[in-house]
Amino acid sequence: MRLRILPKEEVPRLVQALMADYRVVGPRAKGPQFGFEPIDDPAELRLDYNISILSPKTALQPPQERIATIRLGDGAPVVEPLIEAQPTVLFGMHTCDLHAIRLLDRAFTADYPDAHYLERRKQTLLVSLECLQPCDEHSFCKSMGTWTADEGYDLHLTDIGDAYTVHVGSERGEAVLDGHARPAGDADVRRLNEVLSAKWPRFPQRLEFDVAELPALLATAYNHPIWAELGERCLSCGSCTNVCPTCYCFNVLDTIELTFDGAVRLRRWDSCQLDEFARVTSGENFREARAARQRHRMLRKGKYLRERLNAPGCVGCGRCIRACLVHINIVETFNAIHKSA
């Protein structure tokens, strides 16, 4: 599909038009930071944001969702599955978060397809935005190969000054763009190339080795002393997994109505960093030490998910580093292991 040009003054009209048919979720101010949340007015959209506190994942796997309603009474209880989905556009996602959704897609499709996630995903359009500079000193997307994207989106925007170039990735994307963009000319393509050429050197390489070596490196690091050191510092608060765009572990629980004639089955985010995550009812806890739980997180991000789902388990967004109260840093951890290997 051809490259299109979306003039900046046209963006509010495009968003307004989208809002007629979709819930539009995008970057907006949240205190001194940014959230990736539903937009009520195109003017709220802040495409100049650096990074959102929670990732756009929240729209596809909400922190809490109802997965069934239950009717209780005489006779058999009736468990009615519930799929909470609505047409949604994720507008202005950075490419790290776009890569994270590729991982979620694979996780929720593998073996037993998860209709709750997949129905939301089916009804969601992804409009990504090329980052032209790193969010801050904590992002390491270049090292993880997620600092740009050439697939996985419906539309992909790059800021070339007074307009965005738009790479069209799907027919659905093409359709919503209709009437808002014009075909790109030679001058636009030249401008895009200049913008991208200026981008590449701005991003630092923060991993001190090739990410392709990461799974093999971590395979040798199971008994590394760094885990004990992280375990000493970790508060087991779960902030790192809460903000992570590729974390998808969950809990399932029933909450009974006060009238006792019904209940709701909820699915909630859970965290491998919490003490009870791997504890069975008899009291045995298979990952009791905080060191073991931090190691599990780092290995899941750097090795297990990558090997199982063939997608980056860590996309280098740096959110876990920013959120950590005790400065546990995943890149520094990987680098320290590499240095001592």
């Binding site: 997965i67 069934a68 239950i70 209780l72 006779g75 058999a76 209880p77 009736v78 468990v79 599955p81 799929i83 996780a107 929720f108 593998a110 073996d111 037993y112 397809p113 998860d114 209709a115 709750h116 997949l118 129905e119 089916k122 199971y222 998808y248 572990c249 969950f250 809990n251 399932v252 629980l253 029933d254 009974i256 006792f260 019904g262 209940a263 089955r265 699915r267 859970d270 491998c272 995550f277 791997a278 504890r279 069975v280 009812t281 008899s282 045995e284 298979f286 990952r287 073991a292 599990h296 290995l299 899941r300 090795k303 297990y304 090997e307 199982r308």
Partner: protein, 275 residues
């Protein structure tokens, strides 16, 4: 809805509830329309009590005795099992599954079978033991070494007596601590191992029990020369989905609910979180 939800249970009725010990009961469950559950020995179901929650429970009955029903041997422990223990025949429970990889019975045919369940570990092994006994002709020797903490904690007393009475099975039982009624062997399960000699080249060993037990039982089995790939274990983990998504049951890079709950020792020997 495009695809049915993998989290929707099928409602099934309790056909019978039999007390086994102070803490354990056997729940006989009838699937709708007399349909068979279609499980393999070693698999598990997600047992759901609507409004209370869900727990993974290994299937205790053998497919060879299904007759439209299956059995769960459940210890009263948490919320779900606590409510289940108050339920009566005719009450409804939700079932999802069967899930996971069970015991590869086809690869076991023709072999001598050595079973070493400890405590509640008999619940999943009973499924395989009864299948083997029902197809007795297609297996070699059948040896069962069963250990429990106290005589009162021995499960399936009637069946234990029947196993002991069989001339085509070698059954040994021990308790860690006896009482005034106990006339049998006293000692931990490993004290039963010197009683049997096996042909290590033709023996499959199957064990399940509390985490503390595995290291000692494995030492005995390896000491008898049984190859690592012929030693099977069934592992317990917390599970919230049963289908490889929720993350709770992960054992390093393995999902207990997908690759397990039955593993060979060879599979988990280099998986440090397994035991």
């Amino acid at each position: 809805m495009s695809t049915p939800s993998i989290y929707a249970p099928e409602m099934a009725r309790l056909a019978d509830v039999r007390p086994l010990t102070e803490l354990e009961k056997l729940f006989v469950i009838e699937m709708p329309q007399g349909r068979s559950l279609g499980h393999e020995p070693g698999q598990f179901v997600m047992l759901n009590i609507p409004g209370v929650g869900e727990a993974p429970i290994s299937i205790s009955s053998s497919p060879s005795r299904s007759n439209g029903r299956f059995e769960l041997c459940v210890r009263r422990m948490g919320d779900v099992t606590g409510v289940l223990h108050t339920m009566q025949p005719g009450d409804w429970v939700g079932i999802r599954g069967p899930f996971g990889h069970g015991f590869p019975i086809e690869q076991m045919r023709g072999k001598d079978m050595l079973f070493a369940p400890g405590g509640l570990g008999l619940a999943p092994l009973r499924s395989l033991i009864n299948q083997v006994l029902d197809e007795r002709g297609s297996f070699g020797r059948v040896i069962i070494l069963y250990g429990a903490k106290r005589p009162a904690e021995l499960l399936f007393r009637d069946e234990l007596d029947a196993w002991a009475a069989r001339s085509d099975a070698e059954f040994h039982v021990t308790v860690d601590r006896g009482d005034e009624t106990w006339k049998g062997h006293v000692g931990v399960i490993t004290t039963l191992f010197p009683r049997v000699t096996v042909d290590p080249r033709n023996t499959i060993a199957v064990t399940c029990g509390p985490p503390i037990m595995y290291r000692f039982v494995l030492m005995e089995l390896l000491g008898k020369g049984i190859p690592e790939s012929n030693i099977y274990l069934s592992l317990e983990r917390r599970m919230k989905c049963g289908v490889g998504k929720c993350g709770h049951c992960q054992i390093n890079d393995l999902y207990c609910c997908q690759e397990g709950p039955v593993f060979t020792y060879a599979q988990i020997k280099n998986v440090p979180e397994a035991l």
